[in-house]
C-alpha cells in the first residue's frame, strides 16, 4: 500500500483522542466529552463540504439542509408510533420482517417504530435522492448562481421542517431513541454512555477522514483537483467534469446526513435551528478558515470552532463571530488560517499537501 504516511496523522489524532480522554477523566471534567462528541458530528459535515468546496471547487450555502434531512428522517422514522395500526397487513408484514421495534419512551408509552438502522439507511437513501434531484440541474451553474441555488434549497428545507406538523414545526422532534450499533455499543447521549459515544463519534470522524484522504490521493482526487484548477483542461483530458462535480456533491451531502443522523440519536432530538441559513454559512466559514482544500484544517477547525460555540465562548455574538471569520478569512487569508506563514511552524506538524 503506497503512501502509508498519509495515515500517520490519523494515528496521531487517534492517540490524541485517547490522551484527551485520560486527561479529562483524571481532572474530573468528563462532561466536556459531550460537547466534543457533538462537535465531532458537526465536523463530519465540514469534511464533506471541504471535499466539495476545496477539491471540486463548488460552493454550497445549503449544506445544513442535508444535515437536517439526515437528522429529521431518522427522527421521524424512529419516533413515529405505529401502535395504533399494528394489526394492519402492511405493518404486520414489517413486524414479521423484523423491521420494526417496540420500545418504551421516557414517559413510559409503548412505541412501535422503525428500527434505527433501517431509519438510518432510509435517511441515506433519501439524501442521495434529494442531492441527485437538486444537483442535476444546479451543478451546471457557475459561482454565485450555484451559491444562490443552494441557498434556496437550504431555505426550502428549513421552511419545510419549520412548517410541517410531521416535523414538529418550531419544536422539532424529541424522544429520539438510541441507535444500537453492535453488541452493547449504541449512539446514546445519556451519561452512562458518554465515554463510549465519545469514541464512537471519533471513529466516525476518523473513518470519514480516511475515506476522504484515500479519495483525494486517488485517480478521482486528482481529477477533482484538476477540475478545480482548470476545468477546461480537465475536460479536454477526458474527465467528465459534470459527473464528477455531481458525484462529489452527493458524497458531501451524504457526509452531512450521516452527521445529522448520528447527532440526532445522540441528542435524542432535532430542531429547525439545524437547518438554518446561518448554520450553512457557518460550515462554509469553517471550511474557509481551515484552508479550502485542507482536509485536516477543516476537521480541526470543525471540531474546535463548534466546541467553542457549544461552550458558549462566543456568547450572544455566536453568529457574528462566524460572519466575522468568514469576512476575515476572505480578506486576509483566503488560503485559510493554517497556511499563513506565521503559523507554518504549527502546521509543519501536519501533513503537507503532497499528493502522490
Amino acid at each position: 500500500m503506497m503512501r502509508l504516511r498519509i495515515y500517520y496523522p490519523v494515528l496521531a489524532v487517534a492517540a490524541l483522542v485517547v490522551v484527551l480522554h485520560i486527561v479529562l477523566a483524571a481532572s474530573g471534567n468528563t462532561y466536556y466529552m459531550t460537547q466534543i462528541t457533538m462537535s465531532a458530528y458537526y465536523a463530519l459535515v465540514v469534511i464533506g463540504l471541504c471535499l466539495l468546496m476545496g477539491y471540486a471547487g463548488q460552493i454550497s450555502l445549503g449544506h445544513a439542509g442535508f444535515f437536517a434531512i439526515g437528522g429529521y428522517t431518522v427522527a421521524v422514522l424512529t419516533t413515529c408510533n405505529l401502535t395504533s395500526v399494528r394489526e394492519t397487513p402492511a405493518i404486520g408484514l414489517l413486524r414479521s420482517l423484523g423491521l420494526l421495534v417496540q420500545w418504551q419512551d421516557l414517559y413510559g408509552r409503548e412505541i412501535l417504530s422503525f428500527q434505527p438502522w433501517l431509519a438510518f439507511l432510509a435517511a441515506m437513501l433519501l439524501t442521495v435522492l434529494i442531492a441527485l434531484v437538486i444537483g442535476l440541474p444546479v451543478i451546471r451553474l457557475k459561482g454565485h448562481y450555484l451559491a444562490m441555488a443552494t441557498l434556496g434549497f437550504g431555505l426550502i428545507i428549513y421552511r419545510t421542517v419549520l412548517g410541517a406538523k410531521t416535523f414538529g414545526q418550531a419544536d422539532g422532534i424529541s424522544n429520539v431513541p438510541a441507535f444500537g450499533l453492535v453488541g452493547s455499543l449504541q449512539v446514546n447521549g445519556r451519561a452512562p454512555f458518554r465515554v463510549q459515544n465519545y469514541y464512537i463519534a471519533w471513529v466516525a470522524v476518523l473513518a470519514a477522514m480516511v475515506l476522504s484522504l484515500n479519495l483525494i490521493h486517488s485517480r478521482v482526487g486528482r481529477a477533482l483537483r484538476s477540475i478545480h484548477q482548470s476545468e477546461e483542461a480537465a475536460h479536454s483530458l477526458g474527465i467528465d467534469t459534470y459527473r464528477y462535480k455531481l458525484a462529489t456533491f452527493i458524497l458531501s451531502a451524504l457526509f452531512a446526513a450521516v452527521g445529522g443522523a448520528l447527532l440526532t440519536h445522540y441528542n435524542g432530538s432535532i430542531g429547525p435551528s439545524e437547518a438554518t441559513v446561518i448554520k450553512s454559512v457557518r460550515y462554509v466559514a469553517i471550511v474557509a478558515v481551515g484552508g479550502m482544500d485542507n482536509l485536516w484544517g477543516a476537521m480541526i477547525m470543525g471540531v474546535l470552532l463548534n466546541f467553542l460555540s457549544l461552550r458558549g465562548v462566543f456568547g450572544s455574538f455566536d453568529d457574528a463571530v462566524f460572519g466575522a471569520i468568514l469576512i476575515g478569512v476572505m480578506i486576509f487569508a483566503p488560503q485559510g488560517l493554517l497556511r499563513v506563514p506565521r503559523l507554518r511552524a504549527v502546521t509543519s506538524l501536519l501533513p503537507r499537501r503532497s499528493h502522490g
Binding site: 460552493i59 450555502l61 440541474p137 444546479v138 451543478i139 451546471r140 451553474l141 457557475k142 459561482g143 454565485h144 448562481y145 451559491a147 444562490m148 441555488a149 441557498l151 434556496g152 434549497f153 431555505l155 426550502i156 421552511r159 419545510t160 419549520l162 412548517g163 476545468e231 477546461e232 475536460h235 467534469t241 459534470y242 462535480k245 441559513v277 446561518i278 454559512v281 462554509v284 466559514a285 474557509a288 450572544s316 455574538f317 453568529d319 457574528a320 462566524f322 460572519g323 466575522a324 471569520i325 468568514l326 469576512i327 476572505m330 480578506i331 483566503p334
Partner: protein
C-alpha cells in the same frame, strides 16, 4: 373570489412586488458596476427602517427618514471602502462570500443595537385604520406611498443613468471597466457610489414599507432572496425588467397566500428562483445566450 377581494390581493401583491423590485434594482446597480452579488442588500432596507424608527422618536417623520437614508448611504460607502476595496485581485466568488459575512454581521449588529422586537414606522398619512377605496377595495394610504415612492425611485434612477455624467460614467464602468478607466472615469469611486446608491434606495424603500410589513432585525435575508429572484427573473442588470419581474413575483405571492398557508409564501419565491436558475438563467426578458452563466 369577488372583484373587490381580487383587487385587494392584486394591490397587496403590487405593493410587496414594488419593494422586491427596488431590492432587485439595488442588486443590479452593484452587480453591473462590479459583478458582485451583494448578499447584504436586504440588510440595507432593514437598517434604513430601524434607523428611521429610532430617529422618529426625536425628530419629525420626514427628517427621520431623510436622516436614515443618509446614514444608510454612508454605511454603504463604509462597507465598500472597508471590505470590498481592500481585497486585491479577488475572485468574484470571494467577494460574494464577503458580502454573505457582511449580511450576518449587519444582522447581528442590528440585533444587539435594537433587539429582536418587531417595530414599525408610523403611517406617513393617516393611521393604521384609515383607508382609501380603490375599485371597491379598501387599502391603506401607505400602499399609495409605497407605489409612489417606488415609481419616483425608478424614474429618478433612469434619468440619472441616462442623462447625468456620473450616471453615464457608472454605466460605462458596468460595460467595460478597463475602457472606462482609460477614458478617465474614476472606476473605484464608481464602485463606492454604486454601493451608496443601492444602500440609499434600499433605506428609502425600507422606510416606506415599514408601516405595512413591520420591521424586524432578521428580515434582511428573505428580502435579499426575493430581490435576487426578481433580479434574475428580469435578467441581471436589466432594471426595467426588474420592475416587471418584481410585480410578477409580488402578485404570485399574494395569490399563493390566498390558496396555501402563509408559511409557504417564501417557498413560492424560492421555487421560482430555482426554476429560473435552472431553466432560463438569463432571465425572462433576455436572449437565449445563457452560456455565460453555465460552467463548461
Amino acid at each position: 373570489m369577488n372583484f373587490a377581494l381580487f383587487v385587494q390581493y392584486a394591490l397587496s401583491g403590487i405593493t410587496v412586488g414594488s419593494v422586491y423590485a427596488i431590492v432587485a434594482i439595488g442588486f443590479n446597480i452593484i452587480y453591473c458596476t462590479t459583478g458582485i452579488i451583494n448578499f447584504a442588500q436586504g440588510e440595507f432596507l432593514i437598517v434604513g427602517a430601524m434607523t428611521a424608527i429610532s430617529l422618529a422618536q426625536v425628530a419629525p417623520l420626514p427628517v427621520a427618514i431623510l436622516g436614515a437614508v443618509l446614514i444608510t448611504t454612508a454605511l454603504g460607502a463604509v462597507v465598500e471602502l472597508v471590505f470590498i476595496r481592500q481585497v486585491r485581485n479577488a475572485s468574484v466568488l470571494r467577494l460574494i462570500i464577503i458580502t454573505i459575512g457582511l449580511s450576518i454581521l449587519m444582522r447581528e449588529a442590528m440585533l444587539h443595537i435594537w433587539d429582536e422586537q418587531v417595530r414599525s414606522l408610523p403611517y406617513f398619512t393617516g393611521t393604521e385604520v384609515s383607508t382609501v377605496t380603490i375599485l371597491g377595495a379598501h387599502i391603506s394610504p401607505q400602499v399609495l406611498w409605497v407605489l409612489g415612492v417606488s415609481a419616483v425611485i425608478v424614474t429618478a434612477l433612469t434619468l440619472f443613468f441616462r442623462y447625468t455624467t456620473t450616471g453615464r460614467a457608472m454605466r460605462a464602468c458596468a460595460d467595460n471597466r478597463m475602457a472606462a478607466r482609460l477614458c478617465g472615469v474614476n472606476d473605484r469611486w464608481m464602485v463606492t457610489l454604486s454601493f451608496m446608491l443601492s444602500a440609499g434606495i434600499g433605506a428609502l424603500a425600507g422606510c416606506v414599507v415599514s408601516p405595512i410589513t413591520q420591521t424586524q432585525y432578521d428580515m434582511g435575508a428573505p428580502l435579499a432572496i426575493k430581490g435576487f429572484t426578481v433580479a434574475i427573473l428580469g435578467g441581471m442588470g436589466n432594471s426595467m425588467a426588474a420592475v416587471a419581474a418584481g410585480l410578477f413575483l409580488g402578485l404570485l405571492e399574494a395569490f399563493v397566500v390566498s390558496v396555501l398557508p402563509s408559511s409557504y409564501k417564501e417557498v413560492a419565491a424560492i421555487v421560482v428562483l430555482l426554476l429560473i436558475l435552472v431553466l432560463r438563467p438569463s432571465g425572462l426578458f433576455a436572449s437565449r445566450d445563457a452560456s455565460a452563466l453555465r460552467a463548461a
